[in-house]
């Protein structure tokens, strides 16, 4: 397999990387969900979520979701018949929209917005 560094290649690598990172994130997330069966332990873990590091990781998680989701929707659109020549535009549109959502949401999540 040969790779050529262009927008499509960058989008492909980004999708792979964010997908693997999200898959790795699922494991600790399921562990927290498992603790729902024990309210005392679950509430103790939830208490950690107010820490700045937790807020930052939450914003990081959102960035991963937006990057993977935006790219995924772009792939679905291309496979559904969107012109191939629009793939660069779609990538940068998803990127810009993702950044915008991330900026607004991260500000909100870290308590910077009303």
């Amino acid at each position: 397999m040969r790779y050529r560094p262009n927008t499509g290649f960058f989008a492909f690598i980004l999708n792979r990387l964010t997908g693997v990172l999200l898959a790795l994130f699922i494991l600790p997330h399921f562990l927290i969900i498992w603790f729902l069966r024990d309210p005392a332990k679950y509430e103790a873990i939830r208490g950690l979520c107010t820490r700045p590091a937790a807020k930052l990781s939450e914003a990081g998680l959102l960035a991963l979701v937006l990057a993977h989701g935006g790219n995924g929707i772009r792939v679905i659109l291309l496979e559904a018949g969107a012109p191939t020549r629009s793939q660069k535009i779609l990538f940068w549109a998803a990127f810009a929209l993702g950044l915008l959502v991330l900026a607004v949401a991260a500000r909100h999540m870290t308590g910077g917005a009303p």
């Binding site: 997908g19 898959a23 699922i26 498992w34 729902l36 024990d38 309210p39 679950y42 929707i73």
Partner: protein
């Protein structure tokens, strides 16, 4: 629809479902702060059949999309039929275990919610659950 085409279609369909489900998940949980994922609030949401159905679809889509995506990467990079078979077995085991854990939590919530008022939440018995003030619904209103 043949096997591989069906798997490919399900990967895309689960991806589209996840885009919607994750947007909703972030809006109701992560954007609302730690109160939104209080144990009591999550259980109150699970008392609604619509939310229960939503989480079942969310769980299924997540497990399928993640495991099939990782399988796609493995097919490209793992060399040798034996190694690929091992990866496949591990992925299937992990997917089954995670799906079962998710189902267990959802089923457990329904068992707890079906108990009589005042004793319907495990947390009430231990006195460790915060009140439902974030949703403004007292817990003892549960049937």
């Amino acid at each position: 629809m043949k096997g591989r085409t069906l798997f490919w279609f399900l990967e895309r369909a689960s991806g589209a479902a996840l885009a919607f489900a994750l947007a909703l998940h972030f809006m109701i949980i992560h954007f609302k702060g730690p109160d939104a994922f209080q144990h009591g609030n999550i259980f109150l949401r699970l008392s609604s059949p619509s939310w229960l159905a939503f989480y079942l679809v969310f769980l299924s889509a997540l497990i399928y999309h993640g495991s099939y995506g990782l399988w796609g990467i493995a097919v490209e990079y793992v060399k040798g039929a034996g190694a690929l078979k091992t990866v496949k077995t591990l992925l299937l085991m992990a997917a089954t275990a995670l799906f079962a854990a998710g189902l267990w939590v959802l089923a457990d919530s329904q068992i707890l919610l079906s108990n009589p008022p005042g004793r319907c939440y495990r947390c009430h018995a231990k006195g460790s659950i915060p009140s439902g003030r974030a949703l403004k619904i007292p817990f003892d209103r549960r049937p």
